[in-house]
């Protein structure tokens, strides 16, 4: 007989085990889907998860893809840990890219070591400015940050559209919606000849280290944690809630903005309408899959990044529809949320009594 029993306390071991379980269940369900679609499940999974990263180039592409996801998810973890639901990282990414792209265009055809730091800083500031809108509205006008941050995503995309179609469009570009290419000094240096992986990965790693330090070694981290468990307790303890809300949004916005910088000054090299395949939204999955833990987020970003790469490889070599990549991302989140049930409940197998 199976009995479901409520746990006295959420299990810590289960807390870190469920993401692994979710990934495993995703693989099983994915294999099943492939089988139903008429593909050999193991071969399909191999093309999905192994072949894309089997060589040096593939692995570098994995890191390239994981970099913005990791960076944004780290930023989001500051918000999510403290009960602030910033859903608009995509908008903060876009606005960060707009500001840093604008600065990069100012330095068109100029070279100099000082250009890149200014461009990067501009992106972080852009992301912070954009994240401050839902933060300020939440703290002073009690608005719902989920709605405000989400709606601002569409606003930022329209601003980008306007700029690349109109004032910032390449004068030699027949009015196509794109800017000029940035000068080399405004681009992140590549780490290896022939690979696209760029210095932006260090920004992500720095974010990981800093976030770990803040979460586990500082008073702010403790405050965030307490606010996350109970806002009332935080208030009772006398924490300055408003300041913290704004701070976590600023950190989150800066990270998303930097992710935007990494895309436009890295592999893209200009501004156009599609600078991000919704990294800001996918990073939400990454943050939760990584359990809002810096190290967890690194692994989660790699896992989610491979669903993008695998989907391409699977379509090229096995003609599996590319949109299965999104199905995989959805399944991971679904199984994660479902297996969180185990956090609070345990399944007991009870032998039948005689």
């Amino acid at each position: 007989m199976i009995k479901i029993v409520k746990r006295d306390q959420p299990s810590k071991a289960i807390f870190f085990f469920t993401p692994v379980l979710a990934i495993f269940l995703t693989l099983v369900a994915g294999g099943l889907i492939f089988f139903i679609l008429g593909f050999k499940p193991f071969e399909a999974l191999k093309f999905f998860f192994i072949i894309p990263i089997a060589d040096k180039y593939g692995f570098s592409e994995l890191l390239l893809k994981a970099t913005p996801l990791c960076l944004i998810a780290i930023g989001l973890s500051f918000c999510f840990k403290s009960n602030n639901w910033n859903i608009g990282a995509e908008g903060q990414l876009t606005f960060g890219a707009i500001v840093s792209g604008g600065v990069a265009l100012l330095f068109y055809e100029q070279e100099g070591f000082y250009i890149l730091p200014i461009v990067i800083l501009a992106g972080a500031i852009g992301g912070m400015l954009y994240a401050s809108i839902p933060a300020i509205l939440k703290t002073y006008f009690n608005t719902n940050e989920i709605l405000v941050s989400l709606m601002l995503v569409y606003v930022s995309k329209l601003i980008l559209d306007y700029l690349v179609v109109g004032p910032w469009s390449n004068p030699e570009g027949f009015n196509f919606p794109e800017t000029r290419q940035f000068s080399d000094s405004a681009k992140l240096p590549l780490l290896f000849e022939g690979l696209r992986i760029h210095a932006g990965i260090f920004l992500a790693l720095a974010a990981v280290v800093i976030s770990w330090f803040v979460f586990y070694k500082t008073y702010l981290g403790f405050q965030m944690k307490v606010s996350g468990f109970s806002l009332k307790t935080a208030k009772y303890a006398g924490y300055k809630g408003k300041k913290m809300i704004i701070l976590v949004f600023l950190i989150s916005g800066a990270c998303a903005g930097l992710a935007g910088v990494g895309e436009i000054t890295g592999p893209i090299g200009q501004l156009h309408r599609e600078i991000s395949p919704d990294y800001g939204f996918t990073a939400i999955i990454v943050a939760f899959l990584g359990r809002l833990h810096p190290v967890g987020i690194i692994f989660a970003s790699l896992v989610v990044a491979i669903t993008y790469l695998g989907a391409e490889t699977a379509q090229i070599f096995m003609q599996i529809p590319k949109y299965t990549g999104q199905v995989f991302q959805g399944m991971i989140l679904f199984f994660l949320l479902a297996s969180d049930y185990l956090l609070f409940f345990k399944i007991k197998f009870i032998g039948s009594k005689k």
Binding site: Y57, I316, K322
Partner: protein
Amino acid sequence: MHKFLIRSFVSSLVLLFTLTVAAVAKDVKAAFVYIGPTGDHGWTYQHDVGRKAVEAAGFKTTYVEGVPESADAERVLRQLANSGHDVIFTTSFGYMNPTNKVAKEFPNVKFEHATGYKREHPNVATYAARFYEGRTILGTIAGTMTKSNVIGYVASFPIPEVIRGINSFTLAAQKVNPNIKTKIVWAFTWYDPGKEAEAAKALIDQGADVIAQHTDSTAIVQMAEKAGVYAFGQASDMDKFAPKAVLTSVENNWGPYYVDRVKAVANGTWSQKDTWHGIGDGMVVISDLDSQMPADLRSKVKKLQADLASGKVHSFTGPIYDQKGNLMVAEGKTADDGMLAGMMTYVKGVEGDIPK
């Protein structure tokens, strides 16, 4: 023993054959990169129809759909070039820079980029269709069929391709009906059924009784069907989505070009060029004309179609004036391709300004 002889004879024959027509014997593989899903019934769908024609001609093909114009495009292109594809068709404007970048790394792979203008390496060709010829036909029909003399036009982006279409359409409509006005709504998207339907609705509310579109979804013709006004299909024959509203469609027919180019790769005769084909070359196809159109209009359209194909009629024949009344093309002259490629001003009769 004689088995060996036969075998060596055969293999030397094969060798000879391979040496003489080396390129022909080679298995040519073509790859296609799509911006949308193959089931969009518009832009990507038609490219995929073209791909199937290449398959039917005996070549192997691969495609990747839904490739964003972000940093991902470059990876997909490199992967295709790396996995034994000899020619890669990149079917959206936003792939222009990644196409040229990857082409540089793979000089032995041919790249064909649709609707772009950059051919930075000898292995990059560009191609596009003279859709404006199709729009001359749509304009003729719209000008004849309208009762309110207001024609709506849902446009995507203010680029020469789209402006050219609006102008060609308006000029043709004016020719049969000097009183018409073309109202434009910019949707700023190529494919967004929600936005497109909204744009169509706005135009219908402003009195438009014929709607033309330069976006790819079927939302506009469906909206027209609901509102009881006429519309035209875009990219593919959209008649089945709105049988009453759709008078005809301008179809993108890439198949013949794709087969041609893949064969050229197989024969070793492929060379870089910029292709711009219209009705005459079969890249632009007019679907069946709806029976709601009067018989004389239908025969007029048929004749116009033949004349556009033969070159007897040019969509941009002077005198053409811009909105301010300045002469763009003199009487008896036609606009040259350079002018068409950079066309960024409305002709007289189009309402509003080009968004800047």
